[in-house]
Symmetry: C2
Subunit: 585 residues, 2 copies
């Protein structure tokens, strides 16, 4: 070792020891003919004291090796763990010089996003970013500890697999040895973990990279990591218990927080009360159906609307006209899509004042207030329009009001299960799917999800009404993971492929191996996958996953640091039996 | 849970309990009007006893759920852990039927390699294969335990990176969002782990998938797993200590074996004594230089040869003429490439008999025996020819004789470090490299390996003589891993790229991010990567890695089970801006 100690470990009890430290110069300064250097490594910062007043050569981010005696510091620094001591340097050596970094290596940096991604290796020097990755390491370790104790086996599934573009788009890999054929990178190890159940592995897990060639919206990454699990001879209740246990264990061991048992909410209730299948339950402010109560007063907007929904924002009656106008503009943004916003102030003095006083007298409005539990000082907000759009807008408005009223504390955690999802959804055309897949039923979860036995007979008559044995774990309004009980019967699986628009031949070609496997004795099984990047950012109290990934890509899927993707040589293309197609504009 | 217990846990102490088990029918048989079923799961086998004599429906590999009372078995089975009891069945249900598997689900199966790979999910049901993957899980867990205690952080590095075809060929991934550009899959996370050191992560590890598009020789896989590690502020000695510690820890915790400290052998000594940079040191039989002792007797074969090498096979003097002829044919095979084999029998009665008695009298041969420590009963085998070829052939012959004499016991482990590797090797043309890379110096380890400081001045005058700060860990003649101290100086790194035939522009384009990173304060650092698949197969006492990988590919890089790679649609190709090139024959 070039050092005897790290920069984070020396204390009062080490005084008079001769030590050697290595690290980076956080800062150096001259004072009274002496030079003081803050030397930094992953473990902390230690102050070096040089009797020479020559500060040159010890600029920011230089790599230094210094030997000296631990002495008591005259003016102690209570902000750092080594603040009681400093090192009286006898010998100092510059191991590597550094040019000035393009941004400051501090918790709050002056570097913009793109610059930080280009120099990611410098960004990772920042305490705040490194701590995120240390947290990630800790969560991974504890996840493994928990699952290992429950007899789960970690099994690595292959990365070079087969393209089955029924979910999002696959990334593909041309095979040099098999001309004009391609591997695909897995969107998840779904079929493999099911095959492991057919193999009798009983309990499987993996913390595994997955890949999706999506148009990247905010905070998606083309490669992401999931905690992937599967169990045999279980029912839905067992999965919920086991992974509720994991969530609680992680909160306890990593964050020291006791999380209560996770409540369960049906998909139907989530949509009804929150307009959202991943409700943020840190706060109430449920969606109230106002259609009946608000109709028949000759207010055409409500009378003609398919749906009228109200929310009650506690304590927001004092919102000014300006604030309400601004909120109205906010709901009319294309991302939210409402046509307008009706408000009712339940004032502190008991009077009620609304933007629709022309149509509703105080008595009517009192009934509104009653209907949504509004008390003095509360603000009722009402949206109207087509069902799906209005419910979605009401959900967005609820979350926005939650933000504005400070109800979404990042240090408070509210977890729940959403269950009883629909099995299928109609796909009109999704930009993340191949065009040829539009105008079909799609699996809401994936094609291997089992319908609820009591709904199976609806598969032919009313596919949209069939509920699945599927469940999501939601924390603070974010879907952290989801899973399902799988189909383990060959005929039912074949029927699912049929409903999803696969011909028998396509189904056989793409998933024949799975259906064949089911002929040799498949056990009842099910599982779950948790988004590991998202879980880490949630635990870290951050909105973005990017700073919980060591080397993330930007929204165009580029790694700005290594400048990838990039062109490859003609020789490589030739060997792979492919050619670039230059599209005409 | 569908079961109350697994098939491996019931004992005498459970007698009279009512239990429910689930599993697969290992076999069923009729006896005295009763039906006996061996029910199997991952944890073991339990005998079910049915009062009905109806065996139909309970065929091999059916999935069954059975409830009944634990009773004492009349004839106990000492071969299985549950052999004291059986279950008197009250209720039995077939959860899934099974057609007859294409091979038997037994430790010794009747299935051939290709069949087993096609039905891998059935092969994985076999105890022997599943145990391999359980071993793999255990080694991964213990590896993480060891490194976690030493403050290593597990950091995930990206899978979609940049093509740098200086090692083996890269697998590439066309980018839909960046037309005519490609990602590459990593051959190792080398540059990323070095950047993590520049970031001050200090100690990094990852158990990580890597990819190489090689022509697959026996027992190579296009995707493989390595234990990848890097440390800062260390010297070679620290890496050797740390990972020698890991090897010893794994042997102790996983296999219960105490491994002595790893001896160290220079590359030069390994080549001299074993003709091989990964010597199998389970047995001696060193290569002896016979050129001086065997020259000058008018035996043209030896006189004209650049190199004459002998090995002494202990106790093999009784080899018959037929065996020796067969051995001669063996060394003449193209894979070995020797032109012939000279033998000397040191008989039990003290007489010496050789195949070259015409040229060497007994006195001369006695000197030979002395030179290679041959005693009564030993057999001396001598090869001659060009240096490199002969040394390689002698190494192969040594290993073959080791096999024939039973000196390569799979349950005996001999570990060592090979150190002081050459930095560079001349590449005449390697089928695993692009043609454009032939006729150049190549990095023996990789381009980031540091030369020994005392050899740096030879970089210009005699590149082939420069030794590297590089090291391999070798177990039983297999290179389990290797690493090096890295270059952390920008100018030296640039010089290496220059020697390796990169123009300044190429080096900047491919590795600019790393050389730029070195400008911002790179610490001295080094690391190692251990082949995880190989380590597991070594621990499992097997030659092949294939059965230590859940879903391996065959020698054409195909997954026979899912039938990948496969063709993709024109729509997918179009979106990716590539076209298949159909080569004319």
């Amino acid at each position: 070792m070039l050092r005897t100690h790290t920069c984070g470990e020396l204390r009062n009890t080490d005084i008079n020891k001769t030590v050697t430290l290595c690290g980076w110069v956080q800062k150096s300064r001259l004072m009274g003919g002496l030079t003081f250097i803050d030397l930094r490594d992953r473990y902390g910062i230690t102050q070096l004291k040089l009797s020479s007043g020559n500060i040159e050569g010890y600029g920011r981010e230089c790599v230094i090796k210094a030997t000296g005696k631990v002495i008591e510091r005259e003016s102690k620094n209570k902000n750092i763990a080594t603040g009681d001591i400093e090192i009286e340097i006898e010998k100092i050596e510059v191991l590597n010089r550094a040019v000035t970094p393009p941004f400051t290596i501090e918790d709050e940096t002056d570097g913009g996003d793109e610059l930080r991604m280009k120099y990611r290796y410098l960004d990772l020097r920042r305490n705040s970013v490194r701590k995120n990755l240390e947290l990630r390491h800790r969560i991974a370790i504890e996840t493994r500890n928990y699952l290992d104790k429950l007899n789960f086996l970690e099994v690595e599934t292959p990365v070079l697999i087969k393209s089955t573009p029924e979910g999002a788009r696959d990334f593909v890999v041309p095979s040099r040895m098999n001309p004009n054929q391609f591997y695909a990178l897995p969107q998840s190890p779904q079929t493999f973990k099911q095959l492991l159940m057919v193999s009798g592995f009983d309990r499987y897990y993996q913390i595994v990279k997955c890949f999706r060639d999506e148009d990247l919206r905010a905070d998606r990454q083309p490669e992401f990591t999931q905690i992937d699990c599967e169990m045999s001879f279980i029912e839905q209740e067992d999965i919920l218990q086991t992974f509720e246990g994991l969530v609680k264990y992680l909160f306890k061991t990593v964050k020291g927080i006791d999380i209560p048992d996770l409540p369960r909410m049906s998909y139907a209730d989530a949509m009804k009360h929150y307009g959202n299948d991943k409700p943020d339950t840190r706060f109430e402010m449920k969606l109230i159906d106002f259609k009946a109560i608000a109709s028949g007063a000759n207010f055409k907007v409500f009378d003609d609307a398919e749906t009228v929904i109200a929310i009650c924002a506690k304590g927001a009656a004092e919102y000014t006209r300006k604030q309400l106008d601004e909120l109205t503009e906010w709901v009319k943004r294309p991302q939210i899509g409402a046509t307008g916003l009706v408000y009712v102030r339940v004032n502190a003095d008991g009077t009620i004042k609304s933007s629709v006083d022309k149509f509703y007298n105080e008595e009517a409005l009192k009934k509104w207030a009653e209907a949504c539990g509004a008390e003095k000082g509360d603000l009722i907000l009402v949206l109207a329009g087509a069902e799906e759009k209005t419910r979605k807008a009401a959900s967005e408005l609820r979350l926005e009001m939650g933000n504005r009223l400070g109800l979404r504390d990042k240090n408070k955690f509210s977890c729940l299960w959403v269950i009883d999802f629909p099995l299928l959804e109609w796909n009109e055309g999704d930009p993340n799917l191949l065009a040829s897949l539009a105008g079909r039923w799609h699996a809401k979860h994936h094609p291997f999800t089992s319908p609820k036995p009591e709904d199976i007979e609806l598969l032919n008559s009313n596919p949209g009404a069939v509920r699945a044995n599927a469940y999501d774990v939601v924390i603070n309004g974010v879907e952290i993971g989801g899973g399902s009980i799988r189909i383990h019967n060959k005929d039912l699986q074949a029927k699912m492929f049929d409903i999803l628009g696969f011909t028998k031949e396509e189904a056989q070609k793409q998933f024949g191996f799975l259906m064949n496997a089911f002929e040799f004795g498949a056990p009842p099984h099910g599982g779950i996958a948790l988004g590991f990047d998202r879980l880490c950012s949630m635990f870290g109290g951050a909105d973005s996953i990017r700073d919980f990934i060591a080397f993330p890509k930007n929204n165009s899927g580029r790694d700005l640091m290594i400048d990838a993707p990039s062109e490859i040589s003609e020789e490589q293309l030739n060997e792979l039996n492919i050619a670039n197609v230059i599209k005409k504009n």
